[in-house]
């Protein structure tokens, strides 16, 4: 499903690698926490999977396709098989909830009929039915993140990447978001979530990959955030 082989990423401005000879494999349908302090390489990890950046050395494979040397016009197709959720939601402020979700389908040329059908479905799934016509600023943070998740999931991606999706939310709201991600995971979607939230990691007991200084220092199925915490 997803495979990194001896991946090293150097950014031009820094002489310390963001990722240092990282190899790992993530299977279809897995739920993986990516943990580690700021600057440990979590975001770089996610960026490489999206082909926002190319590794300096090593190969990245997603859905059986090697991203190294993938031509530019193939990248959109890769990204259509992935959904992304961020700490800051990244919603379009002047569009309603339904329009925000529909936007993701419009710009990849999905037919109107499909959009009309699937947008209410996914809004109901994330628990936002009845709020389709609200604007983002009329929603709570948790609700905004649900919109972002709906947008990421509406095209039924094989992989959902979440970069600290609960970073801006209180614990209770975070729990709701995690239940939603779990539900998405149960549909067969691989979920990779970078996080600092040890409550969540400890209570979910899923696979944990810990990065430290660009290297994998721990890879544990059913892991917790930190030993001795």
């Amino acid at each position: 499903m997803i495979e990194l082989q001896h991946v090293t990423k150097l950014y031009p401005a820094s002489n310390r690698p963001a990722l240092d000879d990282v190899s790992t494999e993530i299977d279809k349908g897995e739920f993986v926490f990516l943990i580690g302090s700021s600057g440990s390489g979590k975001s770089t990890f996610l960026r490489l999977l999206l082909k926002e950046d190319d590794p300096t050395r090593g190969t990245v494979t997603v859905n059986g396709k090697t991203l190294n040397g993938m031509s530019k016009w193939q990248v959109p197709k890769l990204r259509r098989s992935m959904g992304c959720v961020f700490q800051d939601f990244r919603l379009l402020r002047n569009r309603t909830v339904a329009e925000n979700v529909a936007f993701a389908l419009e710009v990849i040329n999905k037919p109107h009929r499909t959009i009309k059908r699937v947008v209410p479905e996914v809004l109901e799934m994330v628990g936002l039915d009845g709020k389709a016509n609200r604007l983002p600023h009329e929603l709570s943070g948790g609700e905004q993140q649900r919109v972002a998740i709906a947008r990421a999931f509406v095209n039924r991606p094989l992989v959902l990447l979440a970069d600290e999706p609960t970073g801006n939310l209180d614990p209770e709201t975070s729990e709701g978001i995690m239940l939603l991600l779990e539900r998405i995971n149960r549909t067969g979607t691989t979920v990779i979530m970078a996080t600092h939230d040890y409550h969540i990691v400890d209570s979910m007991r899923r696979r944990v990959i810990e990065l430290n200084g660009g290297q994998i220092t721990r890879d544990q199925s059913r892991g917790v955030y930190g030993v001795g915490r």
């Binding site: 016009w73 959904g83 402020r93 993701a104 040329n109």
Partner: protein, 294 residues
Amino acid sequence: MRVNFVLSEVATGLRRNLTMTVAMILTTAISLGLMGTGLLIAGMISDMKEIYYDKVQVSIFLADGVTDEQRSAIETQLADSPEVASYLYESKEEAYERFRQQFSQQPELVENTPPDALPESFRVELVNPERYAVVAAEFPNGQNGVDQVRDEGDFLDRLFSLLNGARNATIAVAVVQALAALLLISNTIQLAAFNRRNETNIMRLVGASRWYTQLPFILEAALAGLIGALLAVGGLVLTKVLFVDKTLAGPIKAGIIPPVDWGAIATISPIIAAAGVGLAAVAAYVTLRLYVRL
């Protein structure tokens, strides 16, 4: 491709940075207007060349006291010369008549010129206009009833070098303006892309094609280019109606300057439009490739 989506993006883009858009349109319009003017002058020059060069190349003016024998001797010499393609005799009366017609718009000048002030002459067309000197040597000035031999081509050359200079200067200014227009377009597109970075970021992440992401920006520039071109054509029409047709009415009527006709404007308008749209679109595309991550 979702036409509505793209068009609404274009409209939003143009509205959001209105001042830049207006600046971009105006610079483009000025540049294209000057380019059009340059093209019109070029067309005019070639029209004038046809009018003048074909008519007369060498004039042999006869002295006031020329005798009939001298006149017919000159005529025989012209008829026999292998250098001469054709010739035409113009009497004093005919010369005066032509003069009156040419300067009908300046009656004072005509009134102050006595009918016999203009010399009779032979208007000679050469087989090869550049062999003027050879012909001139056959008719020495001040001898055998010849007053003066004049190479009209020489005067025309000077006139046309003046007009060519005007054309080149117009086109040079047009090019400088075009450069300014291109930079403005590039700047506007960068701003537009920055204003819509949230949208384009999301489009990138959900896998919208590059083309889909870029098209609104390129169309935005192309539309501004088209509006600029329309303004430029409007400017040319106004210049024709308000300046050329009024101020230059006299010389045009007299056949000294060819008129700027609607046909010429109709011919260059599509060129201007294509240049405006094409340059703007290319500038936008290059800007997106170089400066904007889509």
